[in-house]
Amino acid sequence: MPVMNIIQAVNDALRIEMERDDRVVVMGEDVGKFGGVFRATQGLYEKFGEDRVFDTPLSEAGIVGTAIGMALYGLRPVPEIQFADFIYPAFDQIVSELAKYRYRSGGQYSCPLVIRAPYGGGIKGGHYHSQSPEAYFIHTPGLKVVIPSNPYDAKGLLISAIRDEDPVLFFEPKRIYRASKGEVPEGDYATPLEKAALVCEGEHCTVIAYGAMLHTAREAVALAAEEGIRCDLLDLRTLLPFDVEAILESVKKTGRAVVVHEAPRTCGFGAELSATIHERALLHLEAPVLRITGFDTPFPYTLEHDYLPDAQRVLSGIRKTVKF
């Protein structure tokens, strides 16, 4: 099996889906001849031509808005937003239109499309090249939200997302775009949406993470193991609808949970996970669910290392939870 990084896996998934289904088109700023500022669409323009891989004018609202039209028509657009931080000009089209189109037309229309966007910090990107906006979309009925943490999943989940009947926000962990490498099968395979992966097992505590933070959490779990604390580590992969069964099964076993994400804490996805776990497993819990997250500040530049959860911080959360 070839070894790929996440960018290559994303590129491979796009190529495979475009070969399989001529309704799939790729669009966005700099995705054509240039191949994307992160190179995720490299080679597609040459292979599939400018009708199916094209640069757009500089307008995220236009990218998503016209992609909606294409999906209504019957195509399967895969628009790229250059950075997740720049998705907000398209927020109205996503929240008011994309998310609601099937529902408000009584199921007469649907908008199967995948918005790809690199998200997250750790690349010294400051305010606007670092954000993790997943909670906004998880809170919006009608959208699915997927975040892979490794090349294998990146490819398999992106293929599933493109084949899905509904709109998917597909956020890619740009911090580990190249650093995360692994074996990726050639050709076509689909990793099912809505299923978490149990990355490692242990009986003392459940650690829940996704995307780039999965790696931070894994480091922390390894450190905890050195101290004799053994953890279940769940990689959520699909954030909405999230895999409540996998979560509850693990938490009922361990009686403890730590949730990790980069986004600001207040009203972040960790709040939902915490609420859900407490609601459904209170009597199994030995400690409150703990959130290790980004702080409630805009994403900083110089103090990025203070802002982002690191393994030590997750470890200290695990310790605190286990000692509670």
Binding site: M70, Y73, E97, R104, G106
Partner: protein, 372 residues
């Protein structure tokens, strides 16, 4: 507050005073076609009257009419072929009727009942019909415009002959979505025809406070394609201009922007009272240019129409409306569990749970009511 700016000399016009017509510009429609146009315009006019009353009586929740703008709406939509796509804002019922959307389907939507095609999900007037390629109406102003351009981009990619007709108000030209859509349309040379109903008002905001541009049509130049200003109260002029734009689009000539210069004679919606913000005189002035009257005079001059036929048609249409209303009023609401359908194509676990939660609560409530 002056509402109407117009570069009069550029206005495309076919129908003159008293039913006269500029011969060389007459699009030469068949008698049947002419009468279809008139019938559709009259139908929405009568619906407007009836539904405003209905709303006042509390029998429907809300209504938006098109009185005064029928020519712009019906004239433009008449240029469409079966394979084309209609992307309405919220004031183009006549266009939907021309596509084949039925009175009954429309009225079911007003009631949001169990037979409503959109399952009672949206306010009155927010219909959708995939069968007739009528997109789903959305309240946010301007959000439909990029969809139209996207469909046209798709048609170009698939190399079909489809053309998209999108409607918007002059107020909508202020939104970012208008700009971005027009720009994409220009860059990708999409087969898309924009018809902007410049009815001089966006609720209480007059045209001159909406934008300082000399006309609305001129905005198209910022995107590298043609903008035309047409007399929006002249159904033949609107039809001819739109037809030409469709032909150009089908030839691969790209988009056209049409400003239909007209006037909203009624209130913005049943929630509005225009007397607060505009003068009765302005309205009276525009009533003189009523597009239905102008068109009727033309038909009469052509001997296609007369008072008697008009009274009979009015009577028949009113009868249809009332009969349909009567029928439709009896239909119940959609079932409670339908609340959770169509959020996704397949219902995920959390919505299944919430559905069961609701049904459980409703059962508790019902039990309690029974026990009382």
């Amino acid at each position: 507050m002056k509402a109407a700016t117009v570069v009069e000399e550029n206005l495309v016009r076919v129908l003159g005073d008293g039913g006269r017509v500029e011969k060389d510009k007459d699009p030469g429609l068949s008698d049947d076609d002419l009468l279809t146009l008139y019938r559709t315009m009259l139908l929405t006019r009568l619906l407007d009257e009836r539904m405003v009353k209905f709303q006042r009586q509390g029998r429907i929740g809300f209504y938006i009419g098109s009185t005064g703008e029928e020519a712009a709406i019906v004239g433009a939509a008449f240029a469409m072929g079966r394979e084309d796509w209609l992307v309405p804002s919220y004031r183009e019922l006549g266009a939907a009727f021309l596509r084949g959307f039925s009175l009954r389907e429309f009225i079911c939507q007003l009631f949001g009942n169990a037979e409503d095609l959109i399952k009672g999900r949206q306010m009155p007037i927010h219909y959708a019909s995939s069968r007739f390629r009528v997109l789903s109406i959305s309240s946010p102003v301007g959000t439909q415009i990029p969809h139209a351009v996207g469909i046209a981009m798709a048609a170009r990619i698939r190399k079909t002959r489809e053309v998209v007709l999108v409607f918007l108000g002059e107020g909508a030209t202020s939104e970012g979505d208008f700009h971005t859509s027009m720009n994409f349309a220009g860059v990708f040379k999409t087969p898309c025809v924009f018809v902007c109903r410049n009815n001089q008002w966006a609720i209480s905001v007059p045209r001159d406070k909406q934008t300082a541009s000399e006309s609305i049509a001129i905005k198209a130049r910022a995107y590298g394609f043609e903008g035309v200003q047409v007399d929006g109260n002249d159904v033949l002029a609107v039809y001819a201009t739109t037809k030409e734009a469709f032909q150009k689009a089908r030839r691969g000539g790209g988009p056209t922007f049409i400003e239909a210069f007209s006037y909203r004679l009624g209130a913005h919606s049943t929630s509005d009272d225009p007397r607060v913000y505009r003068s009765e005189n302005e309205v009276l002035d525009w009533m003189k240019r009523d597009p239905l009257v102008r068109f009727r005079q033309y038909l009469e001059k052509k001997k296609l129409w007369d008072k008697e036929r008009d009274e009979k048609l009015t009577h028949d249409l009113n009868h249809d409306i009332l009969a349909t209303l009567k029928e439709v009023e009896k239909i119940g609401p959609p079932p409670d569990q339908s609340l959770f359908e169509d959020v996704f194509g397949t219902m995920p676990w959390h919505l299944r749970e919430q559905r069961d939660e609701l049904l459980q609560w409703l059962k508790e409530k019902g039990d309690k009511l029974e026990n009382n």
